[in-house]
């Protein structure tokens, strides 16, 4: 490019740069409106969360927090491991006419289906089961044929009768 051509190019560039820029009639109100608009706290939090970071440590912190909460959740769902000594106790009931016998108590959440008793042919209707119990005073009852609640005939009775027939009691010390 020779000098006259260069001067001409520069002149046209300068003219172009000096020409006023048209921003339109609504430019100023739109800018002011956007400046006045406040962002919600949630949007701010999302901006913070999604803001690119140089260090991935923030992600590790979140993973650690999630793991801690998960451990708490698993602990809440897992039955507590007995810290007291456990004694295996045999419960026995004579019920010759029974078709099924279960035991319910504060050691199995009073669930009539949780702990069935077994009987052997020729035993004369002797039903029995072994249950691990920890130290404490436990109340229980037998459920015969799924409907009849029966106290243990040779065990101490409970003092309360909140729900009808009294329960039987066994104390492990």
């Amino acid at each position: 490019m020779d000098e006259p051509e260069l001067n001409d190019t520069l002149r046209r560039a300068v003219e172009e740069l000096r020409r006023p820029v048209s921003l339109g009639q609504n430019f100023a109100p739109r800018v002011l409106s956007a400046a006045r608009r406040r962002r919600s706290p949630l949007a701010g939090a999302m901006d913070w969360l999604l803001r690119p970071r140089l260090s991935p440590l923030g992600g590790f912190v979140l993973v650690g927090a999630a793991a801690a909460v998960l451990l708490l959740l698993l602990r809440a769902n897992t039955p507590a491991i007995p810290t007291h000594p456990v004694t295996r106790i045999q419960f026995v009931l004579r019920a010759p006419a029974a078709r099924s016998v279960t035991i319910v108590g504060d050691f199995n959440n009073w669930d009539p289906s949780a702990t069935p008793l077994a009987t052997a042919a020729g035993s004369g209707g002797i039903w029995s089961v072994v249950v691990p119990l920890h130290t404490g005073r436990h109340e229980y009852a037998f459920v015969v044929d799924g409907r009849a609640w029966v106290s243990d005939p040779i065990a101490p009775r409970s003092t309360d009768q909140d729900f009808g027939a009294p329960n039987s009691v066994v104390t492990i010390s």
């Binding site: 106790i89 045999q90 404490g136 101490p156 909140d162």
Partner: protein
């Protein structure tokens, strides 16, 4: 376009939030109470929260509610029973202090339910300091349930404690009284006689199974 790191933040954050909400729900309400209807559960939860705030064990209340549910009791009856147990546990906790175990509180509550006075339980606690209250309180509750007048039962158990008796001695007392009642002796008289006469057997090793009090429940291997 979001970066991979942003996506990880979002996924982990959402997961942590979900797990936290679920864990919070579990902590606030025991899953076993789902067996109760909504009204019963609400009433029982109020009592449980109250005892938990006071530092008392809540498992006995949960078991009482589950017992009622399994027996088909009405909501009012279940809530009433749970409230009564909570009240008794609170009373015994106040009498025995914060060092009392859950088992002792439960046994004490059973004694209170049978009509034993708080002063008798406090006196027994003083005599048994450092030796445990589970068995004496349990024996006391069971004697009352057996028909022994409260004053006679409390006096008999207190007498054994005054002698420095151990768990075996309380068990021997109960069995002796039961034997006498079955023989036709009035319950009150049986308690008085056994409490007064029973002296020498205290401390005899192997007299009874120290870990077991209910006759039908036998440790495995025992005939």
């Amino acid at each position: 376009m979001r970066s991979a790191l942003q996506r990880i933040y979002l996924a982990v954050g959402a997961t942590a939030l979900g797990i936290t909400l679920q864990a919070g729900g579990l902590a606030a309400q025991d899953q076993r109470l789902a067996r109760l209807d909504a009204a019963t559960r609400a009433g029982v939860t109020v009592v449980i929260d109250s005892l938990r705030a006071g530092g008392l064990p809540t498992e006995p209340l949960i078991q009482k509610a589950l017992e009622g549910a399994s027996k088909g009791a009405s909501a009012d009856r279940i809530v009433m029973a749970v409230r009564a147990l909570g009240r008794d546990l609170g009373l015994v906790h106040a009498l025995l202090g914060p060092s009392a175990t859950e088992a002792e509180l439960v046994a004490g509550a059973a004694a209170v339910r049978g009509g034993v006075a708080g002063s008798d339980i406090a006196a027994l606690a003083r005599l048994q300091a450092g030796r445990g209250l589970l068995v004496p309180l349990s024996v006391l509750a069971e004697l009352v349930a057996r028909g022994v007048p409260v004053d006679s039962a409390a006096a008999a158990v207190t007498r054994v404690a005054q002698r420095g008796g151990g768990n075996a001695d309380f068990n021997t007392l109960e069995r002796g009284i039961e034997h006498d009642i079955e023989a036709g002796i009035p319950a009150g008289a049986a308690a008085s006689v056994r409490a007064g006469v029973q002296g020498p057997p205290i401390g005899v090793p192997g007299a009874v199974n120290r870990g077991l009090r209910g006759r039908p429940a036998r440790p495995v291997g025992r005939p």
